[in-house]
């Protein structure tokens, strides 16, 4: 997974989310309401803001996020997580440890693992 100590509030603006993405060079932000995980925001979700002025300061994260994201524990078996993501046709799983968001596992991470496994096997 990609560790992420960063989150964003559901009622915060897209401009705030944009700043977090840019400052920390990350692509996914778990979205919280209070202490509760309520969604996931991808930097790609904000692509529509390109060339549009003013909207980012008005629209809220809750309007654009993917609600009720798929969550897994840090010790979840990777094959089961990959299979479930494939079955649900989703691109990410939020990793939650005892109620606290600790990371996000995305298809980018999956491709990286896959690439490594195939390279290892080719050398074997």
């Amino acid at each position: 997974m990609t560790e992420t100590p960063f989150t964003v509030g559901a009622s915060q603006t897209l401009a705030t989310a944009q700043q977090i993405f840019a400052r920390h060079r990350i692509r996914h932000l778990p979205v919280l309401s209070g202490n509760q995980l309520v969604g996931l925001l991808s930097s790609r979700d904000l692509g529509f803001l390109d060339g549009v002025t003013g909207l980012a300061g008005v629209m809220k994260v809750a309007e654009v996020m993917t609600p009720e994201p798929y969550t897994v524990e840090p010790r979840a078996a990777l094959d089961a997580v990959a299979r479930e993501m494939s079955r649900r046709k989703i691109g990410s799983a939020v990793v939650v440890d005892h109620g606290r968001v600790v990371g996000v596992f995305t298809t980018v991470d999956a491709l990286r693992v896959l690439s490594g496994l195939l390279a290892e096997e080719a050398e074997a």
Partner: protein, 143 residues
């Protein structure tokens, strides 16, 4: 089959074959209908039969959100698609396709054989392959 041979197997063995495609002149409303009806994530976009881009449901939504006052029946797929997709030959080894996707941050490869789209390999196919590989490792730990 040995694991080593799997990394050299052609992408054609792991792709989703015969994907639906859409013409670049179609509207994003029509593209959404195809995506929903076919249950796919990416649509190769054609211009007079030639591949010119790929459009995902996210791309369509993004264009629509950026132009909230324009009807989806009026917005063309060509405006929403990502041009210059990653094109691979059906015989390209899966390990090479995935290495390029990792290096270049790509989430879909379009498999083209003699100018015809014959498949797509996307993150869903990659997740399926990953779970199979890990299953095999668990079943045959000495391999």
């Amino acid at each position: 089959m040995t694991a080593a041979s799997r990394s050299e197997r052609p992408i054609a063995a792991f792709m989703t074959p015969s994907p639906p495609t859409i013409d670049c002149g179609c509207s994003i409303a029509e593209a959404r209908e195809v995506i929903a009806a076919e249950g796919v994530r990416h649509l190769p976009v054609l211009d007079r039969g030639a591949l010119v881009g790929v459009a995902s449901a996210c791309d369509l939504d993004r264009l629509q959100l950026g132009k909230p006052n324009v009807e989806p029946e009026v917005l063309a797929v060509a405006e929403a698609m990502k041009p210059q997709p990653f094109i691979v030959d059906p015989a390209m080894p899966v390990s090479r396709v995935i290495a390029r996707m990792v290096d270049e941050g790509l989430n879909v490869a379009v498999v083209v054989d003699q100018a015809h789209v014959v498949g797509v390999f996307n993150s869903r196919d990659a997740l399926r392959l990953l779970s199979e590989l890990l299953d095999d490792e668990t079943s045959n730990p000495l391999n």
